[in-house]
């Protein structure tokens, strides 16, 4: 992976390490407010993501017992493309994308601000490539600094 793709889209103000949160909503609120402060999303983004997560959740169970969530919503709530990331102090329950009745304990959350699917295909593919590498995910979860997190992301193979 070219780390320049991530450098282009990761919102530095929206990198939250060891986030204390008890619910999916709290994580989404925290990341959304950072994305809003950075003028990446509109004030309506947070509620729109929370509403969508209830109907069409974004939890993804990964290899080796890991799990992430990738909350996002329609482009109308977005000002410019970007990614926010939160690692969590303790795992937080999200519902599974494949089966909303199934709850999974998520250790890592990427919120996606998407404007145009064709322009952001490289960003999406980069994120998904990261998700397929458990060693990288584990390193991101354990990162204790922005630098460590960025270095871990840069190790994904695509």
């Amino acid at each position: 992976m070219s780390s320049s793709i991530l450098a282009k889209y990761l919102v530095p103000q929206a990198i939250c390490l060891r986030t204390p949160a008890a619910t999916a909503e709290e994580v989404i609120q925290r990341l959304s407010s950072k994305m809003e402060e950075a003028q990446v999303v509109k004030p309506s983004y947070c509620e729109a993501v929370i509403a969508r997560e209830k109907i069409m959740p974004t939890g993804l169970p990964l290899l080796e017992g890991l799990a992430v969530a990738v909350p996002h919503t329609d482009p109308e709530h977005v000002l410019k493309p970007g990614i926010g990331v939160a690692t969590l102090e303790t795992p937080v329950e999200f519902s599974s994308m494949e089966d909303p009745d199934e709850k999974i304990a998520v250790q890592l959350v990427f919120v996606l601000a998407l404007l145009d699917k064709h322009e952001q295909i490289e960003m999406l593919q980069t994120i998904m490539a990261v998700l397929q590498e458990p060693a990288v995910i584990r390193e991101i979860i354990n990162a204790d600094s922005h630098e460590a997190l960025l270095a871990a992301l840069g190790k994904a193979s695509q």
Binding site: H72, K117, M128
Partner: protein, 93 residues
């Protein structure tokens, strides 16, 4: 003639984009011509008529008149080879 695959997810913006690309690439490698169309899961019933297969990352309505596969394999990598075979089998039949 190319087989038509409807690729659904929640918003038709994020995950289905990745799934479309992955399916197109995998089928090309197998020499199967496909065209893909992204949509929201809620739009599937109105678009399914022209499709040979529906692939979705999120639950689909029960009574679709066409074969469908719900899978996260293209996002998570888990069971991806099996799903690619399953899709290819559907398209060859």
């Amino acid at each position: 003639m190319a087989k038509h695959i409807l690729v659904a997810c929640g918003t038709a913006v994020a995950t289905s984009t990745v799934v479309c690309m992955a399916i197109e690439e995998a089928m090309k490698e197998k020499g199967i011509m496909v065209s893909t169309q992204q949509c929201k899961a809620t739009e599937v019933p109105s678009l399914v008529e022209n499709a040979d297969l529906v692939v979705s990352t999120t639950p689909l309505p029960d009574d679709l008149p066409k074969p469908s596969i719900v899978t996260l394999a293209f996002l998570t990598g888990i069971g991806k080879d099996e799903i690619i075979e399953k899709i290819a089998d559907h398209l060859r039949s």
